[in-house]
């Protein structure tokens, strides 16, 4: 029976069971996530939607191991996160998860190509391979010839493209994007989403968005709606 369970967990890139997260806010106990069972298969393009405070970001933080659940477990690529030590978890995240944040969060003193290659440096990829992969990914996100620029010299859309390149360059199994279009106009946001969808199709990487932006919802193949920390709806769109 247990063996069956293990096999079942390994079928999913993300497998959560009974996730709960309670934290204290000004002395009051707040339940941000209440018993979420989420399963994502490899290659999915999924959006978690819901109003502010519904638990979207908390869920993404727990899935990525940035935060810990009060109750319940998370398996990523079949590995149970709660069993990993801090350092092991940092290495696991580096090798398997790419992050895209609302405010881009590039390192302003590093040039575009240095920002993108940072994760590969942590992974110990050699210089030649790093250079090759940086050029490839910048090409894919439409930033050819911009590798030498510093992030503050780029537009919001261009900065988010760099963030996408940074998240994808190490070819992680899962990309977590927290409100990636929130700071962008609809045209730029739409173009970026189309690009990510295309990359998802080409590379087979799994994308999980937290958003309340229709631009994302329209393009997601699966939409999970959260309310008060619980899954209200889980819809898979027909292709």
């Amino acid at each position: 029976m247990e063996e069956m369970n293990v096999r079942k967990i390994k079928d999913y890139i993300v497998y959560t069971e009974g996730l709960e997260k309670t934290y204290k806010d000004n002395g009051l106990e707040v339940k941000a996530v209440r018993g979420i069972d989420l399963r994502l298969k490899s290659g999915e393009f999924t959006a978690v939607v819901g109003p502010s405070g519904s638990g979207k970001t908390t869920l993404l933080n727990i899935i990525s191991g940035l935060d810990t659940a009060t109750r319940g477990e998370v398996w990523l690529k079949g590995r149970l996160l709660s069993k990993m030590k801090k350092r092991e978890l940092a290495d696991f995240r580096r090798d398997n998860i790419g992050f895209i944040f609302q405010a881009y969060n590039l390192i302003p003193v590093l040039r575009v190509e240095e920002n993108v290659e940072y994760i590969m440096l942590l992974q110990g990829v050699n210089k030649l391979e790093r250079h090759k992969r940086v050029l490839e990914i910048l090409d894919e996100v439409g930033l050819q010839g911009m590798g030498n620029r510093l992030p503050p010299k780029l537009s919001g859309g261009q900065q988010q493209r760099v963030a996408i390149a940074r998240a994808m360059v190490s070819r992680p199994a899962l990309i977590l994007a927290d409100e990636p279009t929130a700071n962008l106009d609809s045209k730029t946001g739409g173009a970026l989403l189309d690009m990510m969808k295309e990359l998802n199709r080409k590379t087979g990487m799994t994308f999980l968005f937290s958003t309340h932006d229709n631009i994302v919802v329209e393009r997601a193949r699966r939409v999970i709606t959260l309310q008060d920390g619980k899954i209200l709806k889980d819809e898979v769109k027909e292709r």
């Binding site: 933080n61 940035l66 935060d67 350092r87 940092a90 995240r93 992050f99």
Partner: protein
């Protein structure tokens, strides 16, 4: 360049004004430490020179026990062989023989007790500053004459001037019989040191030996080294060599324990300046790093999120502290050098000031030493890295989600 170093170096220039202010604050502290050290070396050198060159010599040889009792009979043992040996000594520049005894000087007007010193005029002229300190008349001209040189205060007490006659009285060795000789005042000196100007008188060595019944014996050999610093080196074999057969050779440090204490005190002063500097470094570095840390919390959160280990964040902050230290050291070393260099040319005028029983005769010049640009900067660098550990550990231990939530 190694990636974390590049990142740290660029990070500290994100807020240039803050970095420069911190670097200047730390740099000024370092510069003051460098200058203080140079000044103290110069002051020590000047004071030792003042103290030893006036009369004392950089070292002295006596019969053991003489310094304590000042007994006339305690003369230097085996004088001819000691003198011969000193003549062949590489480290020794020159030396002079002396007799010393307490006696009385009488004039028609008054009487005063003095330390009556028998000297070799030619040798003494090159070893001590009695000759230079004469402001009326001239120095002794022969080893046998009846000339005497006295201090200006003593001349006032005795109410005598150049060419006047005085009578010197002292006790002879062995018998203790009184011996009296009349002398003509050839010169009057001013050292601006009360004990010397009031209580000393110089007569030719041969005449002094004759008065004391010492034949060719002496009480003291004053020694001057080719390099003054050798006089402070306690481990030189020379000290042992001349501290045999009942004699002892002692350096100025032993002869002037007060001066030695003053130098020890200046060492403590330098340490206090050092402590102040390191307090500035502590506040400067901790403040700058924490300001920079709290401004970039989200960024550290992102770095951690994308897989940077806590140790990587810690290393980054320590490298930033190191980069800050390097800039501060550059500023401090340049300022310190310029300040010291200017004063090595202009000097500091403390002439005539008496300090710890020693009068400063010459301009005081700070001494630039390579050690000032190695030890102090290195200490600042290491100390800054150690101080940087605190903010670095705070950053490394910070929860990733908290860091990403708390962005300023």
């Amino acid at each position: 360049m190694w990636y974390p170093v590049k990142l740290a170096w660029r990070n500290i220039f994100r807020n240039k004004r803050r970095t420069y202010i911190t670097a200047v604050a730390i740099g000024l502290g370092l510069a003051s430490l460098i200058f203080s050290d140079a000044f103290i070396i110069g002051m020590k050198k000047n004071m030792i020179q003042s103290a030893t060159s006036s009369f004392l010599g950089e070292a002295q040889i006596h019969q053991k026990g003489y310094r304590l009792t000042r007994e006339v009979e305690k003369t230097v043992n085996n004088l001819p062989s000691v003198v011969k040996s000193l003549e062949g000594e590489d480290l020794v520049d020159r030396f002079a023989l002396r007799t010393l005894t307490f006696g009385m000087i009488t004039s028609p007007a008054d009487v005063n007790s003095v330390l009556l010193v028998g000297i070799e005029p030619d040798k003494e002229r090159k070893l001590s500053r009695i000759d230079d300190a004469i402001n009326r008349g001239e120095f002794l001209s022969s080893e046998t004459g009846r000339d005497i040189v006295i201090g200006s205060k003593l001349a006032e007490i005795l109410d005598v001037g150049l060419g006047d006659r005085v009578v010197a009285t002292c006790a002879q060795a062995g018998t203790g019989d009184l011996s009296q000789e009349m002398f003509r005042i050839a010169g009057i000196y001013t050292f601006n040191v009360r004990e010397m100007d009031t209580g000393m008188a110089f007569i030719p060595l041969k005449k002094a030996q004759q008065m004391l019944g010492l034949e060719n014996d002496v009480h003291e050999i004053a020694v001057k080294f080719k390099n003054m610093e050798d006089a402070a080196k306690e481990n030189l074999p020379l000290w042992q060599k001349y501290s045999q057969e009942g004699n002892e050779m002692v350096s100025w440090a032993e002869l002037l324990p007060d001066l030695k204490s003053v130098f020890e005190m200046t060492g403590i002063m330098l340490m206090i300046i050092g402590v102040i500097l390191f307090a500035i470094v502590t506040f400067g570095v901790v403040n700058t790093l924490f300001m920079s840390l709290y401004e970039r919390l989200f960024e550290f959160g992102v770095l951690r999120a994308v897989g940077t280990r806590p140790g990587g964040v810690r290393r980054l902050i320590i490298l930033e502290a190191g980069a800050m230290a390097l800039i501060s050291i550059f500023v401090g070393a340049v300022l310190g050098f310029l300040l010291t260099f200017i004063f090595t040319k202009t000097g500091v005028d403390y002439r005539g000031i008496e300090f710890a029983g020693s009068t400063i005769y010459e301009m005081l010049y700070p001494v630039i030493h390579i050690r000032q640009y190695i030890i102090y900067p290195l200490a600042v660098f290491i100390f800054t890295l150690i101080i940087g550990l605190y903010p670095a550990t705070v950053a490394a231990r910070m929860s990733v989600t908290d860091a990403m939530r708390k962005s300023l």
